[in-house]
């Protein structure tokens, strides 16, 4: 499920996404079409022509939505229309009218005259198939009005292919399915999707020769999903090499922030544990909080996580009996006797003589740290990248915890050496969970490295200072590959363990989750070993694990707090 996002669109069409979604009966975005094009849709976005008046644009939205709602743009129907522009236009005229009539009760009043006008000159039809038959016949049909826009058969089919599973560019398409896109020569959208493939060197695939060649030629990779071009010039190769079909994306850090990082005295300084000397390196890492970019076009997952509600809502919500209350279910005998004694002794008695059984109020603040280093951009065995899976888990956790009334924050982190550990506050504690937060979350682009220790230290500092509840939980979503300049595996693992220990010492529960990553269990244990941690192959299985995991973490922290 995606959410309508159109923050950065021109004011005239901002907000139309909701109308379109309502009319089409599913999530649809609205955007402006290229200058010389009439209105059309690819099944996910409706493009309306910009020179038209608002009224005409609304009519265009209504027609395209009606087509979508009436099932006029189904794959089987469209297939018969490929490369038949004449038929397409005739089909649009007949089927557009049918779709509008079907949706008439819901359409705004101004569509009435358009429908009447069309009814007069266009033959009626009962189904997409009969519209198609009429379109193919010799029957005279008037040209559809401007507001009907057009049907872009190829774009629609291409979008359906993408939805059908061949989502990511690197994915292997079996021969049978490949037949389809190949016959469609005008398939622009699909070519865009496949574009990244050109950059994969034929030599050695994901092996060492490729690496060497690319290092030699200093190939500047194009970012898969946009981002600032040139910012991703390779500076260093990922330690883990290429898993699956690796496309390590490197830093997407913006130049100005890098400059900041090298400037003096910027950022918050944190120590780092040096395992080789068994001591802290004081003020070693500097952490910068950078506002995350919000990409208005990002598709946002919203209100998922029903499976998580049950375990999470029960965290720390036991019933407890409270004595000496002003009201309650039962009389507190001890209190009554005392009251009677006091009254007999002539003093003024306390009237609170009831026992009440109540639930604890929720008393939990949760800070989620999301790893957005380059290593999570790699695809996992299930197809979706580790980043996508971590992100959906983060969104679920955030939504559910926010709904059950906990204080929540989400920080994403990556780093470029110790002087530039970047933390992006996707949601701060004081912010409410709304479309902007989700938009920011879904606009994150993985890149660069992860200095996990510094991120945990900053996260726990924020949680300590801003959490505001007595129970605190730090959730780290990472693939466990902590690596940066001068942050080698053994050193990094020791530092992360140390940082987690510090957080626990301060009374915070720590949970480390690794979602869909194929990091070795041994590595994970070395890095997260001292905290509650779990590797979950598939976000859907989170519901069964999360309850005990969170509870264990909170209990560990609780005992620490009591000792302290």
């Amino acid at each position: 499920m995606s959410k309508v996002t159109d923050a950065n669109q021109p004011p005239s069409i901002a907000g139309f996404g909701m109308l379109a979604s309502a009319l089409a009966g599913r999530e649809i975005r609205v955007d402006v079409a290229a200058a010389d094009m009439s209105a059309w849709t690819d099944g996910n976005v409706i493009f309306i022509s910009s020179p038209a008046s608002v009224r005409d644009q609304l009519a265009q939205i209504c027609v395209q939505c009606a087509l979508l709602a009436a099932g006029s743009l189904d794959r089987e129907t469209l297939k018969q229309l490929t490369r038949r522009p004449k038929w397409v236009e005739r089909y649009l005229a007949v089927e557009g009218l049918r779709a509008l009539k079907q949706l008439q009760d819901l359409l705004p009043g101004f569509m009435g005259p358009i429908i009447e006008e069309e009814t007069a000159k266009t033959p009626a039809s009962q189904s997409p198939q009969s519209s198609l038959d009429i379109a193919k016949s010799q029957q005279a049909i008037g040209k559809p009005p401007q507001s009907f826009g057009s049907i872009q058969v190829e774009a629609l089919l291409a979008a359906q292919v993408r939805e059908g599973g061949a989502v990511s560019s690197g994915q292997h398409i079996p021969r049978k399915q490949q037949e389809k896109p190949l016959t469609e020569l005008k398939d622009d959208a699909d070519q865009d999707e496949e574009g990244g493939e050109d950059f994969t060197s034929p030599v050695g695939g994901g092996g060492g020769i490729r690496k060497l060649l690319q290092k030699m030629f200093q190939m500047v990779r194009r970012l898969k999903d946009g981002g600032s071009p040139g910012a991703d010039a390779p500076t260093h190769w990922s330690r883990s090499g290429s898993r699956a079909r690796a496309r390590a994306v490197h830093s997407s850090a913006r130049p100005e922030t890098v400059e900041d990082a090298f400037g003096k005295g910027d950022g918050i300084l944190y120590p780092e544990w040096n395992i080789h000397q068994h001591g802290y390196r004081l003020d070693w890492c500097s952490v910068l909080e950078i506002d995350p970019p919000a990409d208005a076009k990002a598709a946002v997952g919203w209100l998922e996580g029903y499976g998580l509600r049950k375990p999470l809502s029960r965290l720390g919500m036991g019933l407890d009996r409270f004595h000496r209350q002003n009201q309650g279910d039962d009389i507190d005998i001890d209190a009554v006797i005392e009251t009677q004694v006091e009254r007999a002794a002539g003093s003024f008695p306390d009237e609170s003589v009831y026992v009440e059984s109540r639930r604890h109020r929720r008393d939990l603040s949760v800070l989620i740290l999301l790893d957005i280093s380059g290593s999570v951009a790699q695809a996992s065995l299930t197809g979706a990248s580790v980043h996508q899976q971590q992100r959906s888990v983060a969104a679920e956790l955030l939504t559910v915890l926010f709904e059950v009334g906990d204080r929540t924050a989400l920080y994403a982190f990556h780093s470029q050496g110790r002087s530039a550990v970047h933390m992006s506050p996707v949601k701060r504690f004081e912010e409410t969970l709304d479309g902007r937060v989700m938009n920011r979350l879904y606009s994150l682009q993985p890149g660069a490295y992860s200095r996990l220790g510094a991120a945990i230290r900053h996260g726990s500092t924020v949680l300590m200072e801003q959490g505001g509840t007595s129970r605190k939980l730090l959730v780290v979503l990472s693939d466990g590959l902590a690596y940066d300049h001068g942050y080698e595996p053994v050193y990094a693992a020791a530092d992360v363990r140390q940082a987690l220990g510090e957080a626990r010492r301060d009374g915070m529960g720590c949970v480390c989750l690794s979602i869909g990553a194929d990091t070795e269990t041994g590595t994970l244990r070395r890095v997260f070993g001292t905290a509650a941690h779990a590797t979950i192959p598939d976000p859907k299985r989170l519901g069964t694990t999360i309850g005990p995991l969170f509870r264990a973490a909170l209990q560990a922290a609780e005992s620490k707090r009591r000792v302290a």
Binding site: L19, A22, G328, G435
Partner: protein, 270 residues
Amino acid sequence: MNMTNSNIKQEYSQPYYVPVKNEKQVFKAAYKQGLSILLKGPTGCGKTRFVEAMANELGRPLITVSCHDDLTTADLVGRFLLKDGATEWVDGPLTRAVREGAICYLDEIVEARKDTTVVLHPLSDYRRQLPLERLGITLNAAPGFCLVVSYNPGYQSVLKDLKDSTRQRMVAIEFDYPAPDVEEKIVAHEAGIKLEQSKRLVQLAQAIRRLETGGLREVASTRVLIAAGQLVAEGLTLAEAAAAAIAGPLTDDAQVSNGLLKMIDVYIGS
């Protein structure tokens, strides 16, 4: 005391209710046979109004309890209070209904604690008894007593669900928003506005109800349409009333709210 959430509505000047399906017949049949009734349906679709109308038609007093998180068994059944150094038993709303043979309506039953709903079990099956543990007695329900509970399946249903043992003791009646032509009449009648005006409000609501999620947790109910209509009756324009009574309560999110306002503008703005 924690009893402010119950109130007796004895006199009621014929509540306005338009039957949608056979719900009146089902209710009456269940009532005559002494079965308990479960009303399911989204927020603001007329569940409470239906119970009021039925109580009125059957000529029984209606005792309504709105359930909430901290509703305990004692809140329903009753408790001892101290009065002048002695204890005194005070009946809760459920006990009162059992004694008087009233219709007891527990609104949003899932909100109540699990241990609370269990007290309903002997009352809602063939026994029709209410054990009062603290008094050591068991009350037999007076003739005319009927237990009606309501429940909104879409609403936090995973977080809190009705126990199967409770559900199976009930006869279920499902509700949904009325069909557009019926709803137009209801809104017009309840708010006291013209049918053309209520038509436009209903059309807007029909469109909003097609939004699957889009950041909305609940869609526009008949209740908010009536509220909008009431504002119109007071002289506000349709668009103003819809913005205040429909868009405002549904969301706090700026983007979603912008989308809703745009829809209001398209449907009833001009």
